[in-house]
Symmetry: D2
Subunit: 346 residues, 4 copies
Amino acid sequence: MIRIGIIGVSGYAGGELARILHHHKEVELTVATSRQYSGQKLSQIYPNLRGVSDLICKNLSAEEVAEQADFVFAAVPPHSAMKMIPPLLEAGSKVVDLSADFRLDSAEVYEDWYKCSHSARQYLEEAVYGLPEVNRSSISTARLVANPGCYPTSIILGLAPLLRRNLIRTGTIIADSKSGASGAGRGAKVAQLYCEVTDGIRAYGVGKHRHTPEIEQELTKLAGEELVISFSPHLLPVSRGINSTIYADLKEELTQEEMMSIFAEEYYDEPFIRLCESGVFPTTQNVRGSNYCDLGLQVDPRTERVVILSVIDNLVKGASGQAVQNMNLMCGFEEATGLDIVPLFP
Amino acid sequence: MIRIGIIGVSGYAGGELARILHHHKEVELTVATSRQYSGQKLSQIYPNLRGVSDLICKNLSAEEVAEQADFVFAAVPPHSAMKMIPPLLEAGSKVVDLSADFRLDSAEVYEDWYKCSHSARQYLEEAVYGLPEVNRSSISTARLVANPGCYPTSIILGLAPLLRRNLIRTGTIIADSKSGASGAGRGAKVAQLYCEVTDGIRAYGVGKHRHTPEIEQELTKLAGEELVISFSPHLLPVSRGINSTIYADLKEELTQEEMMSIFAEEYYDEPFIRLCESGVFPTTQNVRGSNYCDLGLQVDPRTERVVILSVIDNLVKGASGQAVQNMNLMCGFEEATGLDIVPLFP
Amino acid sequence: MIRIGIIGVSGYAGGELARILHHHKEVELTVATSRQYSGQKLSQIYPNLRGVSDLICKNLSAEEVAEQADFVFAAVPPHSAMKMIPPLLEAGSKVVDLSADFRLDSAEVYEDWYKCSHSARQYLEEAVYGLPEVNRSSISTARLVANPGCYPTSIILGLAPLLRRNLIRTGTIIADSKSGASGAGRGAKVAQLYCEVTDGIRAYGVGKHRHTPEIEQELTKLAGEELVISFSPHLLPVSRGINSTIYADLKEELTQEEMMSIFAEEYYDEPFIRLCESGVFPTTQNVRGSNYCDLGLQVDPRTERVVILSVIDNLVKGASGQAVQNMNLMCGFEEATGLDIVPLFP
Amino acid sequence: MIRIGIIGVSGYAGGELARILHHHKEVELTVATSRQYSGQKLSQIYPNLRGVSDLICKNLSAEEVAEQADFVFAAVPPHSAMKMIPPLLEAGSKVVDLSADFRLDSAEVYEDWYKCSHSARQYLEEAVYGLPEVNRSSISTARLVANPGCYPTSIILGLAPLLRRNLIRTGTIIADSKSGASGAGRGAKVAQLYCEVTDGIRAYGVGKHRHTPEIEQELTKLAGEELVISFSPHLLPVSRGINSTIYADLKEELTQEEMMSIFAEEYYDEPFIRLCESGVFPTTQNVRGSNYCDLGLQVDPRTERVVILSVIDNLVKGASGQAVQNMNLMCGFEEATGLDIVPLFP
C-alpha cells in the first residue's frame, strides 16, 4: 500500500480526495493537514465521512508530511503550493498539485495573471500538465504533476481532436463556461451564500479569468500555433458540474457524421470520455460524482461553425478525480483504479 | 377601465399576466379562458392569486371573448394562436399575441422552422414585432402585436446599439443563452421534472432552436444587412430568468469606456433598460419578477471582441410584462403603467 | 409624506424594507444606515434596487437618524437595537424594532435565552408585541413596537384561534418549522454557503432556539395559562419562506368542517390571512414576496389531534412586511398600504 | 455470479438499482424490463449509465424474467407487483418487492388504505418486512421480502430503540417527515415540475398518507401494544433525502447522555446506522447516494419529550440500497456488499 498525504484537506477538493481514495485498493490515506481544523477529525469537517474515516487533521510542515506519505496531493491555494511543494519533492515524495502554481510554463505569465511573484520557478520546467488524455506518457514518468484547472479540463478535452487535426480557425475559439458553486471553494463569502447563488446565474471575470492563460497555453501546443480565446465563466445554482459550450469556425466543410467520427476515433479507448450520440447533448447531472467527461457535438452548416458541449464534475474530473487518475499513472497503477464510480442521478 | 381578456390563462405566462394586471390601474381582467381548467377559479390554478382574483376560467370561442373584452392577450401555443386571433381582430379587439405565430414576416420561414402551414398569412404584414425599445412608434398604432420570444428579447436588446451603429462584424455573432425552466411551460413532461432539472445544466436545440429565425430577422433589420447567428439555448435549474452571453468581433478598436458610453446614449431614457457599471455583470436574480433588462459589457482587447451580458425575467420582459408594455403603448397609457415592480431579491 | 429611516439596511430585512416602501404612497425613505457599507449606494448593496433608489448609506448615530426621519425601522442585530432605540424614542421618533430586544416582557427571560444583559429594561413594558392579528389596537397607539420573529409569527397565527377558544390541550403543542436560508441573514458563514444548504435539510437548535420563549409568552397570553412547547426549526434549500407544521391534541371532538368554520370566523376580515380550502395545504411558493399567511388545517380523528399548516414569507410577514403593517397602524394609514403585493409564482 | 432481474427498471428506484449493482461483485444484472422503454438501452433511459451498462430493456412476462434471473427486484407500482410476483416465486426466483403490496400483514388494511383488492393474499403471511436492523434473521431465510417504504424506514429506525425498551408513551408519537422529489417517481405530473417544487415546501397527505399503516404495524410489533401515530409528509426542493423529525413523550426522566447511550448500544455494530454526537443533527446531504441512516437525538427536559432526527437517502436506504442489503442477507453474501458507497458531498 502506498501511503498518501493530503495538504489542505479542508477545502472541497480535499474532502473529495478522501471520498475517492476510500475506494482505491492500492493506497491508504495516512496524513491530512489543515491549519484551521488542526486536531479535528476529518469526519467532523466532512460529516459525510462519518464512519468512513477516523483520520485526524494536523498542522504539519511539508517535511513532516513527507515522512508519513509516499505520495502527496497539494490542495492548498495558489502561492501556498509553491512554498510547500519543493520540500516535498526534495524529501522524495511524488506530488500532484491541484493549485495553479505549476501549470504555466512561464513564470512571467503566471505573475501577470496571478499578481504575485513565483518563488519556485526552478520546478516549472519539470512540472507536467496533468491532463492524461493529452499528456499520458509524460505524466507516467513525472514526480510533479500540475493538475489542470476545472474549466481548462472541460475546454481542452472539447477542442483537442479539432486542433490536433487542424480543422478549426484558431482565432475564432469562444468558450462559454458555466460552473457549479463548489468551484469557488469552501471559504465564507457573501457572494457564495445560498440566497445569493440560488435561482439565478451570473457571469464573472469575463475575458479576465485566471484560467485563460492556462487554456491558451495548452491549446497553443495542440494547435502548433499561438492563439487567444474568449473565455466567459458563469456561476450556476448547482453544487457540482461544469458545462463548457465551445464555438469555433470550421476551416473546411465537415458533416455532422464526419465530426462524430473524428471524435470517436480520437477518443477511442479513453476510459473517461463518453461521446453522446448525434443530436443528444450532455448534462452535468449525468457525470455527477464521477470522473467522466461527456461530450456532445453539433456542426452548424448555416454558420459553418462547430459547437462542442463538454461537461464534467468540477470536483472530480475537474480536480480530485483527475488528480487520482494522474497518481495512478505516476505510480504505475491501472489508470481507472478507484475511479470506477457510477454517476449519481438524480 | 379597459376590459381585458386572456386566452389560454393556464400557462405560466397567463398566470403572470393576471399578477401584473392586478396592479394596473387602467384595466380590469374580465375574462380568461382555459379548455383544461374550464369552470375552475383562476385562484385554484394559481393559488398565489388566492384572495387576489375571483375570476372563473371558461372555455369560450374567440367571438365570445371579443364580446367581453376590449383588449386580448393570446397566451395559447403556436398554431392555436393563428386560429383564434383573426376572429378577435375582426370583432374589433386589439390583440397582443404571446405565441410565435405572427413574429416572422415570412410564412415560408415560419413553415420551415415550425413545421406547420400558416393559416393566417394575411395578418403577417400587419402584425408589429412588439419590442418597444426598437419599434415603439409602430406598436403605438398597431391592433395586432406579436410579442417577442424570451430569448430574442434578451439578445436583440443586447445587440441593437451595436448594430445600429455598425460596430460589429455581423457574421461573427454568437449568442449563448441560459434559461430558467418556466420557459418550457407548465405542461407535464418528464424532462421538466424537478429531479431532471435541478443541480445541472443542459444545452438543447443547439443551432436549431425556433427562436433563431426571429432573432436573425430582427437583427438583420437593425444591421441593414442579412446575417446569420449561432444560438445555443441551455436549461438552468432556475424558475425565472434568461442570461444571454453575446459575442461579436469589433469592426474597429473601441475602449471599454467608449462602449459603455454608446450603450448609455442608446438606452438613455428607456424605462426598463438598466446598464451595469463597468466591471459589474448582471444577474437574473436582480430582475426577478420585474420588467427590467439588465445589461453588462466587456470589451476584450486581446481578442478584439465585445461580450454583452443581457438578463431578463423570461416571464416578464420575456413574455407577460412586455405584453403589458405593448398594451400600454397600443392603448395610449403611460408605458410603465402596472410595471413599476421592484425585483424580488433574494 | 412621512420620512422613514432604516437602521442597519444592509441585511436582507433592510433590503426588503426598501423594496416594500418603494410602493408605499404615504412615506419616503430618507435615510438608511450601514456601518459596513457607509458611503455606498443602497443599489450597490442591493442591485435589484438599481434605478429604483438613489439613496446613499451612511454611518450615523441614532440622534442623526432621528433628525432625518419621523419613523424608524431598526434592522440591526439583537444587543445593538437596545442601544440605538432609546435615543430614537427620546428624540421623538416612532420605532419598529425588527430585532428580538423588546419582544420579551421579562428582562430575566431575555438574559437567560440571549446570554447578555438587557440595557434598556425601562422600555420593555411600553413595547408592544407587533402581531396585528392579535394586538391591533395596542399597536395603533404604540411608539415602540417589537416586530415578532419569523417563526413566532407563523406559529402564533396558526394557534391563536384554537387557544382563544380553549380547544386544545396546551401541554401537547409541537411546532415543527422549516425556514428558508434568508432567515439566517446576509453574513458570510460556511454553514450558509450554497453548497452547504442546497439539496438537503437540517434541523438546528432543537428545543433550544431563541424564538421559543417568545412563542411561549404569546401563546400563554392567548391561552390564559402557562404553557411550554416543543419547537424544532429546520433549514431548507429555499430563499424565502417558512412552513410551520403544528400539532396539538384536541380537548374535545371536532370535525374538519367545524375546525374550518372556527378559523374562518376568527380570521374573517383579516387582510393578510388566507385559509386554504379543506384538503388543500399551503405552500411557501404561493406567499413568496407577499405579506400573506396561508393556513391549512387537518383534523385527524384517528389520533384526536389537529394539524395546522402555516406558511409565510419570512422576509415579509415574518419581518419587513409585518413591520410596514405595524407602521401603517401606528401612523393611522390604511393597514394594507404598500402591502398589496401579489405573490410571485413560479 | 447470481443473475439479477429488475422488473420496472425505468423508475428512479430501477435506475438506482442498476447503479448499485454495478459495484456488487457477486451478481450480474442480466435482465431489465420496461413496458414503456422496451427495446431501448438502459443507458438511454439513464444516461448516467452511459458506458457503464449495455443492457437493453425488454417487455417480458414474469415467467420470461424468471428464466433469465435467479433473483428479481420488483420495482413496479403497487397493484402490478402483486400480479407479477407470484409467478416469479413459483418459477423459483427469490424476490425483493419495492412496492407496498406485501408490506402489510392484513389484506383488509391494505384494501382500506390502497383502495384496491389484494389478489395475492396467500403470500402476505410468507412475505418478510425487509428492515434488516429489525428483522435480520427472518430476512435471511425468506424468498419474498417486502422492502419497506422510504418514510417508514426513517421513522422505524428512529423509534425502534425506544419502543424495544418501553421508554416512550406510545400514544404521543408524531413523525414530521420531509422528502426529496424523487420519492414521487419519474412520472410526468404538473405538481412535480421543476418550477412547482423549487424554492418552496408543501405538506401533503397529512394524517392520510399510505405509509401510515405500515409504520403503525411495525411500531406496534416493536412496542408490543397497539398504537397510532400522527404522520405528516412534506415535499422538499431536494432530489434525494428524507428527514423525519420524530417526537414522543418520555415515560420517565432520561438525560441526554442516557439517551445517547441507549441508541449507541442498540445500534452497536449496525453497518448502516451512524449516530451523530450529542448536539449535532444529521442532514440529508451527508447520506446522499449512500445506504446510511444518520440519527440525531435531543432530550428536552422542559417538555419531557425526546426528539429524534432520522435522515436517509430515500432512493438508497429508503429503496434500492435497502433492497440490495436484503438481497445480500437472502443470498448469504456479506451484508454490506456493493453498499460501501461514501456519501457524495457537496
